[in-house]
């Protein structure tokens, strides 16, 4: 039941964003369509349900977004520097990164975040290992890889999805 | 001002198109296509600002929602799935 409500709320918010109007007819149509879609997909849409909206989690999500935005801007300055430099200072390679996260949703979010942060691109996820293309491989030591690439994300994600 | 920004985006699309025509493998061309779609998404919003018509933003919304489906299909084909 709680999963049902969660899916419905998310879908209805997306509908509001698409139409951007508060007319009664639009709201009723949106509610009906969201209900129909929800009744089909709520079992696969989420594993968590309404308890996802607890205040602690919301605070962590906001913290995550801030960390992510800072990393995104840093990533872009990094890419800009490498692209403009006439010598093209890159040393690419694919490294293995072991994640400690268990939840599937958390792994997907981690992979997407890693793709958008400095110098890294997720190539594949096999079980608990993420294979990451790193544009400037400084070390092959797993601890260094863990610290440099994803530690700041993983700490917050573990708190959100525990 | 907007026209200058649009010409910057046009230059970007031209670079991506050169990679699309040149790129040695099919993957390079798909990357170029993906980037052209994203740049067009941004450019259409900018054009909507120039003409000052709200309905024009909807086209960009369609690109943002559906633009990656084509690339995803091509990628799945290359990998042998689908």
């Amino acid at each position: 039941m709680s999963r049902f409500l969660f899916t419905f709320i998310i879908l209805f918010l997306i509908w509001l964003g698409f139409t951007t109007s508060l007319a009664t007819s639009e709201l009723i149509t949106g509610a009906v369509i969201s209900l129909i879609i929800t009744s089909f997909v709520y079992k696969t849409f989420t594993d968590y349900g309404m308890k996802f909206f607890s205040p602690m989690r919301v605070a962590y999500i906001i913290q995550y977004l801030i960390v992510f935005l800072i990393a995104l801007i840093k990533a872009n300055l990094d890419v800009a520097r490498r692209v403009v430099d006439p010598k093209l200072p890159i040393n690419p390679g694919i490294v293995k990164y072991d994640t400690k996260l268990k939840s599937r949703t958390a792994k997907v979010i981690l992979a997407n975040s890693i793709t958008l942060t400095p110098g890294t691109l997720t190539v594949d996820i096999i079980d608990d290992a993420l294979y990451i293309h790193w544009i400037d491989v400084t070390s092959k030591d797993p601890d260094v890889i863990y610290r440099e690439i994803g530690e700041s994300f993983e700490k917050i994600l573990r708190k959100i999805f525990q | 001002m907007i026209i200058f920004l649009l010409s910057v985006l046009g230059l970007a699309i031209i670079f991506a198109l050169i990679r699309g025509f040149k790129g040695p493998t099919a993957s390079d061309r798909i990357v170029a296509l993906d980037n052209i779609t994203t740049i067009v998404t941004a450019g259409l919003v900018l054009l909507g600002l120039y003409f000052e018509r709200y309905i024009y933003v909807d086209v960009s919304l369609i690109y943002a929602v559906l633009g990656f489906v084509g690339v995803l299909t091509l990628a799945r084909y290359m990998e042998g799935g689908l």
Binding site: - | G20, A26, G43, D58, I62, G70, L74
Partner: protein
């Protein structure tokens, strides 16, 4: 007004080039990428000629649907033309 005419002319040149590319190409996946580029450019053209509703439809069908159908057809037959 003049820059709009120049932009439309440039877009038509790109569209014709992409169409020729996808006709000449022997590798059909590359031809599909060519048609994708055509539909992106075509939808920008519709947009510039003040028809946002047509541009919306072209974006949805050209980018997502026709690419998927072509790729499925190639999957069922052969990738390379003789």
């Amino acid at each position: 007004m003049t820059w709009l005419a120049v932009l439309v002319a440039l877009l038509i040149v790109v569209m014709v080039a992409a169409a020729l590319y996808s006709v000449v190409q022997k590798d059909l996946i590359l031809a599909v990428i060519g048609t994708s580029v055509i539909s992106v450019v075509l939808s920008v053209l519709f947009y510039l000629l003040q028809a946002p509703d047509v541009a919306l439809t072209e974006a949805a069908i050209g980018v997502a649907l026709s690419t998927i159908i072509f790729v499925i057809a190639i999957k069922k037959t052969d990738r390379y033309e003789e």
